[in-house]
Symmetry: C2
Subunit: 364 residues, 2 copies
């Protein structure tokens, strides 16, 4: 059996609940949840086939839901509430009693579960459990889950691709902290890692889910027709973080070498790439895919909010590599650079694509 | 459905892993686990009736175990490992495949789950989940558990009995922090609270357990033939804590009133009292009861270790009431008083009784 805790742990969101925490700075991700609410309602209503599988979805037994990469809240509470409500509605519509709901909140061992647990709304209509461990491994027993959800977490890779950090590899990524899309070997190394990780994710969830169970994913991806990651809002944000680190290096506060050896373990796939990995994995049928209509897309770009959000997400990974002492100074530079590039961001960020996918566990 | 998190939270063990933490000071409780190992082996081997209930205990489905009042570790890991091993052995003995194991670690929302999760042995042969919430409520779905375990936690009441703190009640407990056994109304108020709590505990576990599922309890109790709690080691420890607080009050560091309004929410029942509550609850049959043979019973009384252990257990409840600033000074006095009463403790503590009970969920 896969042990649950010996996977190399990486980059949980900033814990606690102070002004720099993820709890206080995840409104973009909340926007994803809001935009996904309609998707969830439609997915469950149309694709969760309770009526023909009442042995698998027996309402006298608990209906189990997993949120993979739940972080510290509050977004996961909204998502879980949405799911519980629409599943209950679905049972009602087929004249079955409402099952008891069991919600499994999953994230890295180093996620702040204490904050997560304290924030669970007191009158939630479900029993809550926290599941520590990387979702790039089995974290729940076989067939123990009826619905899995993963929002804005699957673009995080399990690790930085090894070649990126190998000085003798053509994929060595000197002077940058991510791929822009122009460096063939670098992009390939990132894509290969993504494929491997995604395949492990799908296989693990397939084992945990019952046949006919749904897997609902939201994640940032490459907009259709775009090939350069650096032309997306997310790509630009990463490039600016890289150049802010280089500016710190030039003033001698950190070494250039430490920037060279820092790389973001993230990949934003195209819809085609995603489709291929799912098809090859062969455990799921694709019920529906599309692009979320993020409610913030129509608002002007907000420098301060974006800076705080990026800091909450990147805090731990930056602290691990460079130490906590550089963070304040780094984000002063970062905020300035966002401001300097305001017009580009205000235009570019609107084009970014947040994918959603509704997959169904095959019965084989 | 019972919400999982709106129960008044009380007295989790001291979190973190510093020298004053529960993690570092729970060797007495570990002794209980060691002494209980044989009990667990015998309980599962003799009383877990897999062979005649292979629908309920279907090895193709996860076998779920709950530890209620697990605290921050490491004792819960030993207990869970013991259970998983003997259950696996039992399946093997009836020529069935080994099921996957799902372990639910339950404690108050304010328990330090981050420390608990980080300590889970990396190669444990089970999937781990944390369940936040008081065990004096439902914390898991109906019929979701095959075996429940509760070690050294059930003597903690859900709250201080109200009458104890009511100046107009005959049970008002002025100048003391617990019952000694001589005050009729005080003892009755404590016992009534214990009965109510224990009944809620049993009913909650009965709903969570499958028919035929086992509930294994270890808890401190009143030695047979003894009626005065103050004549037990635990009673003496509480009395000394009370008199240490009064000494602080007399030097003006805390008010006497604050000592009057402080009471320990603990009850150590006699075996007869326990038996009556279980019988009246009517959800369980009693398969076996007895007194644990604690391995520390043969060692000389250790003042320093006992003082540290009591501090780790009482830290949070004392801090909530009096503030953290008094703790160092309080435990200097406490240690001195333990030393002064060395001979009494060295004799008395050996008579203390740790009960074990093996209960089976009825099939009704």
């Amino acid at each position: 059996m896969a042990p649950t805790t010996n996977i190399k742990e990486a980059h949980p969101m900033k814990g606690g609940d102070d002004p720099n925490s993820y709890v206080q700075n995840s409104s973009y991700q909340k926007g994803v949840i809001d935009a996904a609410k309609e998707i969830i309602i439609e997915a469950v209503t149309q694709h969760l086939d309770l009526e023909n599988n009442l042995t698998t979805f027996d309402p006298s037994k608990p209906f189990s839901i997993g949120d993979f990469g739940c972080s510290t809240g509050p977004n996961t509470y909204f998502a879980m509430q949405n799911i519980v409500e629409v599943v209950a509605e679905k049972y009602k519509s087929i004249k079955q009693p409402k099952p008891e709901f069991h919600v499994f909140f999953n994230d890295h061992v180093n996620n702040d579960f204490n904050i997560l647990f304290r924030g669970i709304p007191p009158n939630s209509d479900y029993f809550a459990a926290g599941v520590p461990g990387s979702f790039y491994s089995r974290v729940l027993p076989k067939g123990s889950l009826h619905l899995a959800h993963c929002s804005y977490a699957l673009h995080w890779l399990s690790q930085v691709p090894k070649e990126i950090q190998d000085k003798n590899s053509p994929a060595y990524n000197k002077g940058k902290i991510h791929y822009t899309g122009t460096e063939k070997y670098v992009v390939k190394a990132y894509f290969d890692q993504f494929q491997r990780d995604m395949d492990v994710f799908l296989t693990s969830r397939a084992l945990e889910l019952v046949g006919g169970g749904l897997l609902i994913i939201q994640m940032p991806g490459l907009p259709s027709g775009e090939t350069m990651f650096t032309m997306t809002g997310a790509g630009l944000l990463h490039a600016i973080l890289g150049s802010s680190l280089m500016e710190l290096a030039k003033s001698g506060i950190i070494s250039e070498e430490s920037v060279d050896s820092f790389n973001l373990p993230q990949y934003h796939p195209s819809m085609e790439e995603l489709g291929k990995v799912i098809e090859r994995n062969n455990n799921f049928t694709v019920e529906k895919v599309g692009i979320l209509n993020h409610p913030m897309k129509d608002l002007p770009f907000d420098v301060q909010r974006t800076s705080l959000q990026v800091r909450a997400v990147m805090d731990m990974i930056l602290t691990e590599h460079f130490g906590e002492h550089i963070l304040d100074q780094l984000f002063v530079i970062y905020t300035r650079k966002l401001q300097e590039n305001y017009d580009v961001f205000d235009k570019q960020i609107r084009k970014d694509a947040d994918f959603f996918l509704v997959l169904k566990r095959k019965f084989h």
